[in-house]
């Protein structure tokens, strides 16, 4: 339909044909296909990196490409995936939550204390634990969105407070012997797939739909792109920002539940320093730290890439220090690749 239309070069302003002329199309389908229409997704670099690393590891270690090992990677990265997905909601609004691993530790400790020390039924323990996560998210969200305190400071404070509180509650001693349902969540298989991996996948899938297919998701991305534009377009900025922090804290709580189930041990030192890994996973997966772009799938693939590298270095018998170095290098590399890709895409458009 566009072949007969005298079109200007795309990106060079408005067409000058008369209003109402039959050739006037807002979007020439043919020409649209010829221009760089489908940008590669944000998580492109992470997937490419994961495949590359997987190929290299397949040659370096016989143990890598086995069903057993790969499901193991999924199970090991489940908690990281869940937390990175939560972080994605906050990052989309151009915010940050440094308190996720502290929230996770607090939630896990709370669950352990309630169900083991006080012998509450698992369901009741879970309800109270998630209520705590909700309150933490509301506090973060209110302080940041309503009272305009910097997200970095609020959640850095939260990092200290929640972990300190977790350590204080149980006197620094871990509780063990968690209810069967919790350990099932963390350790068992369902149809041959580890339950924590299934939980993580469900979290990512639902979150991805929320981010791309709901008004809330569009609003989050608009806020990250331009708060003032979002506000003047009628996006409920305050409510959406608070909700983003609540979702992040609730997923951190879920991560805590899965983690204590996996370890069958709950205490204030769970996942110390993991917040940086969480933010790295999201960034590696193409979730912009400046807000407005990225998807939960990016958080997932970023976590998987980190997981594969750690797994590979484990298989090769490298020290955990080297794993840390590798993750740091990958983080910078992934963001550099992503920037380069964007620049290229812009040039070709």
């Amino acid at each position: 339909m566009s072949s007969a239309t005298p079109q200007q070069t795309p990106g060079r302003g408005l067409r000058a044909s008369a209003p109402g002329s039959p050739s006037a199309t807002a979007e020439g389908e043919g020409s649209a296909r010829r221009t760089w229409r489908a940008e590669p997704p944000d998580w492109f670099a992470a997937v490419a990196g994961a495949i590359l690393v997987a190929i290299v590891l397949t040659f370096l270690s016989d143990a890598f490409l086995t069903t057993n090992n790969l499901t193991n990677v999924l199970a090991q990265t489940a908690v990281l995936t869940i937390l990175a997905t939560g972080q994605c909601f906050v990052l989309l609004t151009a915010g940050i939550d440094l308190s996720v691993s502290a929230t996770m530790a607090f939630a896990g400790t709370m669950l352990g204390m309630l169900t083991v020390t006080y012998d509450w039924p698992a369901v009741l323990g879970l309800v109270v634990t998630f209520a705590c996560g909700l309150v933490i998210g509301l506090v973060n969200g209110m302080l940041i969105a309503r009272f305009a305190l910097p997200a970095f400071i609020v959640t850095l404070g939260g990092l200290l407070v929640w972990r300190g509180l977790a350590l204080q509650m149980v006197g620094g001693i871990n509780t063990t012997g968690l209810p069967d349902f919790i350990t099932w969540l963390g350790q068992d298989d369902l149809l041959g797939i580890p339950v924590p991996a299934l939980v993580a996948l469900a979290v990512v899938a639902v979150s991805a739909v929320v981010v791309s297919r709901t008004r809330f998701g569009v609003g989050l991305r608009a806020i990250g792109g331009s708060v003032s534009a979002a506000e003047r377009s009628g996006v409920p900025v305050l409510r959406y920002k608070i909700t983003a922090y609540v979702v992040c804290s609730l997923l951190a709580t879920l991560g805590g539940v899965v983690l204590v189930g996996r370890l069958d041990s709950a205490g204030g030192s769970l996942g110390t320093g993991m917040e940086l890994m969480v933010i790295s996973a999201a960034a590696i997966g193409g979730v912009s730290l400046f807000g407005g772009s990225g998807s939960p799938w990016g958080a997932f693939f970023g976590a998987i890439l980190i997981g594969i590298i750690q797994n590979g270095l484990n298989l090769l018998g490298t020290s955990s220090f080297v794993q840390q170095i590798a993750t740091g290098v990958i983080l910078v590399l992934a963001v550099a690749v992503d920037q380069g890709r964007r620049r290229l895409a812009r040039r070709w458009a």
Partner: protein, 250 residues
């Protein structure tokens, strides 16, 4: 596809004795005027004359200290921009208020997305409506999926105006809509203003460009130091007369 044409001839907006002070400075001093239905009204004046404050007051972004703003004959009390939009007034801001990271279709519906059951976006319906809108206004963009940050200045302006056109029931307020545009893109925006009038909407445009004002407008309001010093029918005045009023020679 657009909403009902406005057929009655009541003024879409009326200001009565509107005053706005910032500290000791009176930015707008007891200004009264009406914007008639289906007309383009130009607001002109030197820098600091109070034009932008007037447009912000109508947009609901600034609340006057004294006086009333009547919309469709009813006094308005709210200063919430969302309420103003609901009353049928759209604003094309100088910075356009588009989200640069989102695509054209998403921006056209930002804050007013169509949803299906369970709150899922009805993307197909929105894209169809967006395509129709841009076709009708003869606005060209590479694709509805193009991010706004990839568009030229003129294309962005056209998208912002298309959005206002789509949602406005009575009035579109534009603050210097062509200040940053080239000749051809300026023409396009001027065409869009004419289209708005044909569709029964009014336009209140703040402009420095007197050629443009004379080309487009039905009425000209001249402001000087916060006061409305003259109102002209464009057909019955001259550039010389308007310039003299702006500078205060007359």
């Amino acid at each position: 596809m657009t909403a009902t044409e406005i057929l009655n001839d009541a003024p879409v907006v009326e200001l009565r004795g509107v005053t706005k002070r910032y500290g000791g400075i009176t930015a707008v001093d007891s200004v009264s005027f009406t914007v008639p239905a289906r007309s383009i009204v130009a607001l002109v004046g030197d820098n600091g004359a109070g034009k932008s404050t007037i447009s912000k007051i109508i947009a609901g972004a600034v609340h006057p200290d004294e006086g009333d703003v009547l919309v469709g004959g009813e006094p308005r009390h709210s200063i919430d921009p969302t309420e103003v939009r609901r009353s049928g007034i759209e604003v094309v801001y100088q910075d356009l208020a588009l989200a640069p990271n989102l695509d054209v279709a998403t921006n056209l519906f930002l804050g007013r997305e169509k949803v299906r059951a369970l709150g899922f976006l009805d993307r197909r319906a929105m894209r169809r409506e967006a395509r129709e809108l841009l076709e009708q206004l003869d606005v060209y963009v590479p694709s509805l999926s193009t991010k706004v940050e990839r568009l030229s200045g003129g294309q962005r302006q056209a998208i912002a105006i298309a959005r206002a056109t789509h949602w406005a029931q009575s009035l579109v307020v534009m603050d210097e809509p062509t200040a940053a545009l080239g000749l051809r893109e300026t023409r396009k925006v001027e065409d869009l203003m004419g289209t708005l009038r044909e569709r029964g909407r009014s336009v209140l445009v703040v402009s420095h460009n007197l050629d443009q004002v004379f080309r487009l407008s039905d009425h000209i309001l001249v402001m000087r130091r916060g006061s409305l010093v003259a109102q002209f029918d464009t057909a019955k005045t001259s550039t010389e007369e308007v310039v003299a009023t702006i500078t205060g020679v007359m």
